[in-house]
């Protein structure tokens, strides 16, 4: 098993109701598998997950990417700074 930290920002944090979570995931899990798992854990996230961005260790990560050990992930909507 692999322990990861997930940060939630902006509208995603509002939906989840918490700023961060720690999770144990199987080794070799991909970003899209994690999203699926999160959709089960937080059903209120399901509709938003399609357009949710994911970062792994502060770099954008895409569906097929494997999640490394002790990773810091973040889930957030498309950015709107400026």
């Amino acid at each position: 098993m692999n322990q990861i930290k997930i940060l939630f920002f902006a509208s995603i944090r509002d939906k989840v109701g918490t700023k961060s979570a720690e999770m144990n995931i199987p080794n070799g899990m991909t970003v899209s598998q994690l999203k699926e798992k999160l959709g089960e854990q937080y059903p209120q996230l399901k509709d938003a997950l399609k357009s949710t961005l994911v970062s792994v260790n502060r770099e954008y990560a895409f569906d097929d990417a494997f999640i490394p050990a002790d990773a810091e992930l973040a889930l957030f909507p498309p950015v709107s700074g400026g």
Binding site: F9, A10, S11, L53, P77, P78, V79, S80, G81, G82
Partner: protein, 155 residues
């Protein structure tokens, strides 16, 4: 915030943006021109349906945001080797109309070697990839503003 041979200054901050100080930090003795862009909170927006904004509330994923600012600066230097200094600042927190919220400034020896284009490229990229979000508070309550850009590999 980082200083290299050519200064690159970047930060996410709750403090007021000080243009004069930032310009000074990125001006070398060889610099003759600076192009600066700042974004400001609008109290009235007329594009689309007209609306009034009481304030914006900004939040950031700070360490990733600063890494992405650094990346935008690196991309600028790859494209315009005339650029000498670069400053990038995003202010976060509760910001009222007429307040500068973001700044990008580039210096160069002369004004005709890409310094305007570099600043323009910079603000466009910052708005695409830097993980910062704003919630608009106005007459219709609170609304998260969401961007449209979906990052791809290499962003």
């Amino acid at each position: 915030m980082t200083l290299m041979n050519f200064p690159t200054v970047y930060s996410v901050t709750e403090a007021e943006i000080n243009l004069d100080k930032l310009l000074e930090e990125i001006t070398l003795t060889s610099s003759g021109a600076a192009a600066i862009f700042t974004g400001v909170v609008r109290g009235v927006t007329k594009r689309g349906e007209e609306r009034r904004t009481a304030y914006l509330e900004y939040e950031a994923y700070v360490p990733m945001a600063e890494a992405k600012m650094k990346q935008v600066a690196d991309e600028i230097r790859e494209r315009w080797n005339s650029v000498e200094g670069i400053a990038i600042v995003q202010r976060i927190g509760k910001l009222y109309p007429k307040t500068p919220t973001i700044l990008i400034a580039c210096t160069a020896a002369h004004r005709d070697t890409g310094v305007f284009e570099a600043a323009r490229y910079g603000i466009d990229r910052l708005k695409e990839i830097v993980p910062i979000w704003k919630k608009e508070v106005g007459e219709n309550g609170e609304t998260w503003i969401e961007g449209e850009y979906i990052p791809a590999s290499g962003d």
